[in-house]
């Protein structure tokens, strides 16, 4: 890697003060994004992926939230030290963001045109007329028919998919170097999801913008991203290139995630959900956060928090042990056999009882 990364997050620490105590929403998170690269951040709700992205924009509601430590280096500048007015010059201009729910992310009482042109006029110093023309170009770029007419419509006159297209157009308005897409397809119908993903893929190639793609859906990541990080309980638990991660997942949580989605490639395996709930981030413990739900848990997991370690070239995982998918398969079969044995024993018991009487 000759070129310095566009974004480098180092040991990010984000806390929320609540009535019940301090929640460590993001713990010691580090990752980087190169120019033009697409990074996927995967995790379930509450894993800290959205908080991480909002921290990059410095948009965590504060109070109660606060960046308690770490650095966010964007093009060499530490955004954590930026003043609010310095940050405003970055937001929507060099880094922009699109959100999960297009139904609520647009202001219902302002025309689409107004909402699109405000950042153009602010960051690019355009006149109202120039901004409007640019907005028309942007809308046609994201595939909205009759863009000059639609600019005067209100958000409620658009469908969900169309609104997300508008959001994407707004996000790309000032040619940002980094676009953060926070679950941009989660709230949409499956067919619309595919269209939006395709659109993002096309725009990524056309504009060369780096993208952080946040999702809980590993399936979405596969076709979109160059690299993936997996987050769990506010930590990065695995990091690899997308191919490597799918071929050779090394953290039991990632293995669990991959096993809990149906495969379409014909290989029939049992669909196994991950048992239990994600942990309470209020408690600070020195165990592996995934231990209570892990199939491979050992004594050591309850007394040591694993840190990321190299498990293969350009592949890190936060697990104390060398666990891979084959073992998962073996474990699963063993578990089925055990269950079967228990059932058999019970059946025998009943039979024996009946014979006795």
């Amino acid at each position: 890697m000759a070129e310095a990364p566009l974004l480098e997050v180092k040991n990010l620490q984000v806390q929320f003060k609540t009535a019940d105590g301090v929640v460590n929403a993001v713990n010691n998170v580090s990752f980087s994004v190169n120019r033009g690269e697409t990074l996927g951040i995967v995790g379930e709700s509450g894993s800290g992926k959205s908080v991480t992205s909002l921290s990059i924009m410095r948009l965590i509601p504060s109070p109660p939230g606060k960046i308690a430590g770490g650095q966010i280096l964007f093009d060499g500048d530490n955004l954590v030290d930026f003043s609010e007015s310095e940050m405003r010059k970055i937001r929507g201009n060099r880094i922009s963001m699109i959100f999960q729910d297009p139904m609520t992310s647009l202001n219902p009482v302002l025309r689409i045109g107004k909402q699109m042109t405000e950042s153009l006029q602010l960051h690019m110093g355009m006149t109202a007329k120039q901004a409007r023309n640019r907005a028309i170009d942007l809308l046609s770029m994201v595939g909205i028919p009759a863009p000059d007419k639609r600019l005067d419509d209100f958000p409620h006159q658009f469908s969900g998919g169309m609104r997300q297209r508008v959001m994407i157009a707004m996000g790309l308005a000032c040619n940002p170097e980094l676009l953060i897409a926070d679950e941009p397809t989660t709230a949409l119908d499956v067919t619309i999801q595919a269209q939006i993903l395709e659109l993002l893929n096309r725009l990524k190639n056309e504009t060369g913008t780096a993208i952080i793609f946040i999702t809980h859906d590993l399936g979405v990541v596969a076709g979109m991203t160059d690299r993936v990080i997996v987050m769990y309980a506010g930590r990065v638990v695995e990091q690899a290139s997308t191919n490597e991660l799918f071929r050779n997942p090394r953290m039991p949580y990632t293995i669990g995630l991959l096993d809990s989605i149906p495969r379409l490639d014909g290989i029939q395996t049992r669909l196994t959900p991950i048992p239990g709930l994600p942990p309470d981030l209020l408690e600070k413990t020195n165990r592996c956060p995934f231990a209570p739900r892990c199939d491979f848990v050992q004594e050591q997991c309850w007394i040591e928090t694993p840190s990321l370690r190299q498990v293969a070239p350009d592949h890190t995982a936060a697990c104390l042990f060398d666990i891979d998918r084959d073992q998962r398969q073996v474990m699963a079969e063993k578990k089925i056999a055990e269950e079967q044995a228990v059932l058999d024993a019970a059946l025998e018991d009943v039979l024996a009882h009946e014979q006795a009487s």
Binding site: R88, T104, V109, L110, M170
Partner: protein
Amino acid sequence: MIGFIIRRVLAMIPVLFLVALITFFLMKQAKGGPFDQEKEVAPSTIALLNRKFGLDKPAWLNTAEFNNRMSSDGPLAAVRGLFDSQFGNYMLNAVQGDLGPTYASKGTETVQDKIKQTFPISLRLGLISLTFALVVGFPLGILGALRQNTIFDYFSLIISTIGFSVPTFVTGLVLLLVMSKVFGVAPIKDPSVWEGFSMSYFPPAIILGLGTMAYITRLTRSSVLEVKRQDYIRTAKAKGLGDRVVIMRHILRNSLIPVITILGPAVAGLVTGSFIIESVFRVPGIGSEFIGAIGSRDYSMIMGSTLFFSLLVALGNIMVDLSYGLIDPRIRNS
């Protein structure tokens, strides 16, 4: 738009009719006629007065007249005869803007004359207090929400909780007490003070508007807090917009929507609250007249002003619904 207004005006009719019906029915339940209190009046005079005011006719339906005319003049005249009752005649006249003579004046003055005389005073009072409520209520609520959990927020919370909870006659009397005991301001006795616009309107208007102001403050505050949490505000911030633009362009207009819905009840509150304040501060408006009518059991005045108040409240609601559409495009287009 025109269709909407027509629909709303038509919807007012059953409400007003019901108000008239209920009021008339209740007035009939009251013990004692309007002329009972005059001790020296001979029974024959009372009978004469009753006749003059049409009180000798049946209250609801004049079946005698119906049967009478049915045999002589045919069904159409008979139906007219059926409604030749106290209520029927009252409604017929009321539709034409004639609310009948006041009992208190023994027929020399009509209810609509009284309303014409006194309503301008009440209107001035109401407009000042509405202005006060809006001009103070909105900023107090907005600032409270934007500076949440600061001293300023607590101040606005305290003021609005007091204004919202304590009845106006209590705050009004306390203000009168303070004015007279602390500042030595005597209560106004000269009625000519109220004829034009004068400073004397301010104490009663502020007290009258206090409840509405507090309500607006509370609602604006919670509305702004609600809007602040919305996704589209996060979108606006993610565009790099400054606080001022985010507040002025994105927060305020959305926060206004729920506040406007209560302006209808607020106007109603000001209209009906006025008679308590007017009697506390001795403002010779229509409210004082109404309270006086209750004391003297002047039923035509009570009926007339109740209908008038109800009309005002209903008109206020229509205006609010219209302004609602101006602010929220989702309603305008539907």
